[in-house]
Symmetry: C2
Subunit: 231 residues, 2 copies
């Protein structure tokens, strides 16, 4: 009856990664630690995965708890064993997504000391992440307003850190006169915007793959920020 759990585990990598980062409570890790039989996927993970699919397809308000439960292969009541409310499920998904996104951009920042390479790497990785996780990305970017104030504050802090990271990269490039930018916060916003808007339209299997799109946008970002005389 409730065994119609979808096999399309598009976001599983993200969820598992989030668990490793501590974004989601560590019941999955405990399961293996105590030697419990490892089913293919825990109920918690199925639930988060079902929520991602449902929220991405229909939006937060358009999603019913019955829909999530059916996708996770459980009864509507079982959802509330793991999460206090539908909004609580959204917060779990949004937090995992944001933690993944900031890890991606901070790692890209750290990978090179050269300001131009840095901009290239950051826009490349940020864009690629949004293309490859466009379903989670849609929730991350569009359902912020559906969070309760307390959860909104937690997410806003991560968003600010992402913008800070990009601003820092621009400032350092300007200091060494390799980058030429009039409006640092505005340009940081534009560079992030480019990657973020990908979630609005990108679907795997289109005419462009995630890596090609990321390379295109990274190249445009370098043109936007580099000194024209030095180019």
């Amino acid at each position: 009856m409730y065994a119609i759990y979808s096999k399309r585990l598009l976001s599983m990598v993200l969820i598992v990664d989030a668990v490793n980062h501590g974004a989601i409570n560590n019941s999955a890790i405990n399961n293996s630690a105590i030697g419990e039989t490892m089913t293919a996927v825990t109920a918690r993970q199925r639930l988060l995965d079902a929520a991602v699919e449902s929220f991405a397809d229909k939006g937060f308000t358009g999603t019913t708890t019955r829909d999530i439960a059916a996708r996770a292969g459980m009864s509507p009541a079982a959802v509330y064993v793991h999460h206090a409310s539908k909004e609580d499920l959204l917060f779990a998904v949004s937090l995992a997504g944001h933690k993944d996104a900031i890890a991606v951009i901070e790692q890209a920042y750290a990978r090179s000391d050269d300001p131009v390479d840095r901009i290239h790497n950051m826009v490349f990785d940020f864009t690629k992440w949004h293309a490859e996780h466009s379903r989670v990305g849609r929730i991350v970017q569009y359902e912020f307003g559906a969070l309760v104030p307390e959860h909104r504050r937690a997410i806003a802090a991560i968003r600010n850190a992402i913008e800070d990271c990009m601003r820092k990269a621009l400032e350092e490039g300007i200091a060494t006169k390799v980058l030429q930018i009039d409006d640092i916060p505005g340009t940081a916003l534009a560079l992030l915007s480019l990657g973020i808007d990908v979630v609005r339209w990108f679907e795997p299997g289109g005419s462009r793959n995630a890596g090609e799109l990321a390379e295109l946008y990274a190249g445009l970002a370098v043109r936007m920020t580099t000194n024209r005389q030095a180019g």
Copy 2:
């Protein structure tokens, strides 16, 4: 009882403009033609305006017909005299918004013959429109999926025309060797993305006004597309 119609007519310019363009049926025009007493706003317009506010605040699925009716100062039943369904109201708002957006970008295209000025004007006007109409813009950009297939097709045609216009501007600049672009459709997408993503976060009264933001993005667009040797 139902006289709580909000005075915040943020989208009124758009709505009236859409009527002039024929996007919305011409009852408002008929009203004056037959010499009827001109109330400040017709019920139709109040309804469309209320729908814009409600959809922008809560999304299409999060909006109730009761909410729209209350904002328009009428009973829930009165809504159905003007529109067959909630989705039909969304379509009216979305169509008016899309027609306004394409008019803006096509006028910007036609304003200059110089390829660089053209890119500047198109990105400037498109960005400014999305900043100044961020509430309508949010509906235009994020509620496409809530339309029924027939309405989706009508809107998709306008979206394609917007992309065509931007691609044409890039192609003409490349032909005269003033612009230097590797991937024309991809770059067109990026330029439009920059303006579109504004609706996600822009609110009037922030640290940047619509014109300043548009100027910043237009400048970045020119850097993205112009020949580096010629610069």
